[in-house]
Subunit: 331 residues, 2 copies
């Protein structure tokens, strides 16, 4: 298999809930006005805690510094595994499950923090730019590694990046067992033709920027077991949307599509306290048992927590499996 | 003819050019999310100086106080002349020309300030709430006057509002002659089905909120004789748009409509220094000679200046006429 290091230098940021109004102008530009913003990698995820915005340096320039904006200090690079037809994997599962053993586990072993961003199209593994030498050294046995520069891919060898490289210690990292939350909402992972984005503009704007103000006549949801989670990304021209079925009903049914009709997903949220960015092995803790059982999973990291999405029919066995694996009750 | 005093209590505000980013969130709500905002009267006009926003009290609540927002201190009420078929006027002209002699001239004579807002559908004459008694007393000879309350119209008689009414002095007001500016752009006055507003959302957002940032690859306009002027209104469910032909080209041609195809208008801007809100007779100075010559005109007041739109084919004669009338050269 091939591993691509994509030509995006990313920043991971968070906008606090009541600060979103101050960022409506740049965010609408980044989402809808591609001819005005040069941003090629943009992702916005709303959770109950905040809005996580991951974007490249061109996009980051659009966000004015503010007390409402937190910025993780590193530059992150997105990695992407490309099956080139020679894969020996017999797995039918999709998402992080396919890369759990080949990418996520080895990086966790080497104490490399990863920030995961699954989309409809693919799974991006974000690593810190300063960890790149360790990443290449760790993954080059399993992968042919290519680095994208200006649209061209060239092979990367470990010795190219060996300068200053110190292989991290071998001792197993001290793993924290984080509490899990399993909300009741059902989620869809969808896409749409980017040319039809204008057709859903007012609905998307409504959901993203105004869903916290009560709609006239609508009763507030009393269902405390449901979680607010909505993710939009526009990466290299591809749109991906993750939303629950309640949000989905607001969109025209003929424009959004999913890989198979009525495919629904349930969420496992990882973390009771905000996870931070330095702990390693969190994704591995979840993706490893899923991979052992060949269960598909999307995985979306945000500024505070991690979120795995598993097929609805597997949620009971996944819950049991994670409890067993962690020897900790899920909350 | 009937005169309606509409059931809207309006505020006239101005957002400075570089302050618009701070108001993107409430303005997009007011324009596109009618089920979230209760505003029934909304108008936004961009000029080179600022953005003039006229809106009812429900809409005004959406605008947070800010150093970027100026608010005229009065409450304004919109008047609307309704032809009931018994009109003796033989004029084919549209716009303020039809009401120049019956409304605008008599109010100017009584020193009542008016703020004009022509739309595709009709012409609103805004008067200060505190001037209402004078207005009714002045216009009741010419009109049957009805006041709208909760959708119902009831006849208003002068004695109903006579309390405290002091007819203004009879001496002719000291008129200032303001310089005129006649830019080269051609304007269109258009409408669209409010249900199709979502279809032009991204274009309208682009033009309203991002037109001051350079488009990638576009050269800045060198034509200093053209003026930035774009007006959008959504009043009682009716949409009206006034824009120049350059802006019009950005919109899909099949959604916007005008009363006759390819009807183009030229602008006369009134005022060299900001006009303020207290001077009376400015509209009358312009509308009177146009009415004498039966020339159609739209008239849009903004926070700083007044703007008359006249048919393109009449601009030469209008320029000459206004120069003659004022015995002052236009600039």
């Amino acid at each position: 298999m091939d591993l691509h290091i994509l030509d995006h230098r990313l920043r991971v940021t968070s906008i606090c809930k009541n600060g979103l109004v101050n960022f409506t102008h740049p965010l609408i530009k980044l989402i809808f006005l591609r001819n005005r913003a040069r941003c090629k990698f943009f992702s916005l995820t709303e959770t109950p805690e905040n809005y996580t915005v991951v974007l490249d340096e061109e996009g980051f320039k659009e966000l004015q510094p503010s007390e409402h904006l937190l910025v993780e200090s590193s530059v992150w690079l997105p990695l992407n595994v490309v099956s080139n037809g020679n894969s020996s994997s017999s797995s039918q599962a999709v998402g992080v499950t396919k890369i759990a053993k080949s990418v996520i586990a080895p990086l966790a072993q080497q104490h490399v923090s990863v920030f995961m961003l699954s989309t409809y199209q693919t799974d991006f593994i974000l690593v810190r730019e300063k960890d790149l030498a360790v990443v290449i050294n760790t993954l080059e046995e399993e992968f042919n590694i290519y680095r994208e520069v200006g649209g061209e891919y060239s092979a990367v060898l470990s010795q190219d990046v060996h300068n200053g490289f110190q292989k991290n210690g071998k001792e197993a990292p001290q793993l924290t067992v984080h509490p899990l939350l399993i909300p009741q909402n059902q989620f869809c992972v969808m896409s749409l033709d980017p040319d039809t984005l204008p057709a859903i503009a007012t609905t998307l704007i409504d959901v993203l920027f105004y869903s916290n103000s009560p709609k006239e006549g609508a009763l507030p949801s009393q269902d405390l077991d449901c979680i607010k989670f909505f993710s939009f990304s526009l990466i290299d021209g591809y749109v991906s949307l993750v939303m629950d079925t309640e949000a989905q009903r607001q969109f025209p049914a003929d424009l959004l599509f999913t890989s198979s009709s009525r495919e629904l997903w349930r969420m496992v949220r990882i973390g009771g306290q905000p996870l931070g960015f330095d702990e390693c092995g969190i994704v591995a803790q979840i993706s490893q048992p899923l991979a052992d059982n060949d269960i598909s999973a999307y995985y979306i990291s945000t500024f505070s927590f991690d979120h795995a999405l598993v097929p609805e029919e597997d949620i009971v066995s996944v819950t049991e499996m994670l409890r067993q694996h962690r020897k900790e009750p899920a909350c």
